[in-house]
């Protein structure tokens, strides 16, 4: 059976399965600009946004599109590092494959969270665009609160994708629960470090946002 997987494109598919979800996962952290930086730091884990920002500052350009390209690549690098780290834990739980396959597994199962990141960064963009036209409470309700449903559904899919993918690749039932536990641990940590903006945090964040918009 293994011989079937050694076609030239199958090898390349395995490589892409690592990099594409990592790119999708991390790109949102890199696209924070001067206007949205504070909001991104509140919505996502702060150190990830700061890390991507550090990488972005290494290359200076005046072209907007190249700037966005650099920004997404910077975010993707941070994304790759996060996935590589999570894959170490997953590798210990899975135990039946090489690290590179554990990394691939972790990367593919993270696609729903990558979609979640993309959706939230789009929500941030929409929020900033309507900051001058809507009341702060309405803004909070329309973007931060309403995105919680999206978070819930993406998390649900993340966990089911993990279960299905591990079942598909022959992981025993007991280890599958271990895989889910890693997923739950990761998602709890990820949510605790960002995503859940409380009304109090929002009160602190709003003046900063308005100031950033007035300046830039």
């Amino acid at each position: 059976m293994e011989g079937n997987y050694t076609t030239p494109l199958a090898r390349w598919a395995r490589i892409l399965e690592i990099f594409i979800p990592c790119y999708m996962f991390g790109k949102s952290w890199g696209i924070a600009d001067k206007k949205t930086f504070e909001l991104f730091r509140a919505m996502f884990p702060t150190f990830l946004i700061d890390g991507a920002d550090y990488l972005k500052k290494l290359i200076h350009t005046d072209n907007t599109n190249i700037e966005r390209l650099v920004a997404t690549v910077a975010g993707a690098i941070i994304g790759f590092l996060v996935v590589a780290l999570l894959a170490v834990v997953m590798h210990i739980v899975l135990r039946d494959r090489k690290y590179i396959d554990s990394l691939r597994f972790t990367s593919v199962t993270l696609i729903p969270i990558a979609v979640l990141n993309g959706t939230l960064s789009h929500a941030i963009k929409t929020l900033v665009e309507s900051l001058s036209t809507q009341a702060p409470d309405a803004l909070y309700a329309s973007t931060v609160s309403s995105s919680r449903g999206t978070v819930a559904i993406n998390v649900l899919f993340y966990l089911t994708a993990m279960w299905m993918m591990s079942r598909r690749t022959g992981v025993t039932r007991s280890r599958r629960w271990g895989v889910i536990a890693v997923g739950v641990g990761f998602i709890v940590l990820y949510l605790a470090l960002g995503l859940m903006i409380s009304p109090n945090e929002w009160q602190v964040l709003l003046p900063k946002l308005q100031q950033a918009l007035a300046t830039h």
Binding site: M1, L9, R104, F157, A161, M164, R168
Partner: protein, 368 residues
């Protein structure tokens, strides 16, 4: 009247000639788009390009000619409102003649040649109705957003939504690819039976080989080394996401429209559904959760007579050779039930596993 193949072609040619002429003269004469005649040309070309399919299905071909008739009747008051003139009434009457003559000839005609397929399954009729309805909704929302400049391309984004691409496949497999995708509808309705030679008749061997080297395509057990998705599907993702992010296209109306039209035109270059199988990245994304979905078809191998009527390149849009499956469908199955209809025997491809099949699997030590 006995409609021979040549007579079938002639009816359409004689209808198409005046339609083409009237369309050109009509535009210059009335300065308005004669939409009824435009659709008459569409009906003529459609039937001619699908002559292999329609010959033997004369009543179905006749009904295609009802489209320009209805459109002609409905657009006539609008034309009169815009440009009240006797000329428009003249063109409306001619549209009706051009479309009703072939209709009556085909609906009353008889032919000795019959299509070899068995009677249409109810589930396939239901699928066709759903496909048409969803396509109309898609076309209307896209047209609306173009006319009013609003972003009602939400239908398109809905297809990307985590529920439709992720949760839905757990329950209904890749029903989205078989029942709801507008590109799939176009391919099934317009492109499948087209008689012209595609510019790309055969894809490189390396691309075709993917269909037995990734978890999405393999129905049985796989190991940890197998790639989850085919390479070409993965690489098709990248330009989409990259362009979207770098050029900040999220929420921009043109972006999904270009994407969908790109798929339509790309699909015309290759054999039926090859675009979905190897290049639509949404197609692969749905495959993530579709393996072993709750709603799926069952292949009762013990009842199969090996007549090969269901063979991959003929019946299945995703080129699954059902005879190679051991009662498990791969994630690529889009539940179109074409294989079920293609099979001339009862009880081979079903919704429920047959008792004999259960016994066979039990004896082979496989999960029942």
């Amino acid at each position: 009247m006995n409609i021979t193949k040549q007579r079938f072609i002639n009816i359409h040619k004689y209808a198409l000639g005046p339609a083409l002429l009237l369309y050109v003269v009509g535009i210059f004469g009335t300065k308005v788009l004669q939409i009824g005649i435009l659709f008459a040309m569409g009906a003529g070309f459609f039937n001619l390009l699908h002559q292999k399919y329609f010959f033997g299905r004369l009543k179905l071909a006749a009904h295609i000619w009802l489209i320009p008739t209805v459109i002609g009747i409905f657009t006539y008051p609008l034309l009169m409102e815009k440009e009240p003139s006797g000329q428009n009434a003249f063109y409306c009457v001619l549209t009706l003649i051009i479309s009703l003559v072939p209709f009556f000839l085909l609906i009353t005609g008889t032919t000795e040649e019959k299509p070899s397929k068995k009677e249409r399954l109810k589930i396939i009729s239901a699928r066709i109705v759903v496909q048409i309805l969803v396509f109309i909704i898609y076309a209307v929302t896209t047209a609306y957003s173009f006319i009013y400049g609003t972003n009602v391309a939400l239908f398109f984004w809905g297809m990307f939504h985590v529920f439709t691409v992720a949760i839905f496949p757990f329950l209904f497999g890749r029903v989205l690819c078989g029942w709801l995708c507008p590109n799939a509808t176009l391919q099934d309705g317009l492109f499948k039976n087209l008689t012209y030679t595609r510019p790309i008749t055969k894809l490189p061997r390396a691309i075709e080989e993917q269909s037995h080297s990734s978890a999405m395509y393999i129905s049985g057990e796989i190991d940890k080394n197998a790639p989850y998705f085919p390479f070409t599907l993965l690489i098709a993702w990248f330009p989409m996401f990259f362009t979207e992010t770098v050029f900040d296209l999220t929420g921009v109306l043109l972006y999904p429209v270009i994407f969908m039209y790109g798929l339509y035109f790309g699909s015309l270059l290759m054999p039926w559904r090859k675009m979905c199988t190897h290049f639509c990245w949404l197609s692969s994304y749905r495959g993530l959760g579709a393996q072993g979905s709750l709603w799926r078809i069952r292949f009762n191998k013990s009842k199969c007579k090996n007549c090969k009527m269901c063979q991959a390149e003929e019946a299945c849009p995703f080129f699954i050779d059902i005879r190679n499956q051991d009662n498990e469908m791969p994630a690529t199955c889009c539940l179109c039930f074409s294989c079920m209809e293609a099979c001339p025997f009862e009880g081979v491809i079903t919704f429920r596993r047959a008792p004999e099949e259960k016994a066979r699997l039990k004896a082979a030590g496989k999960a029942v």
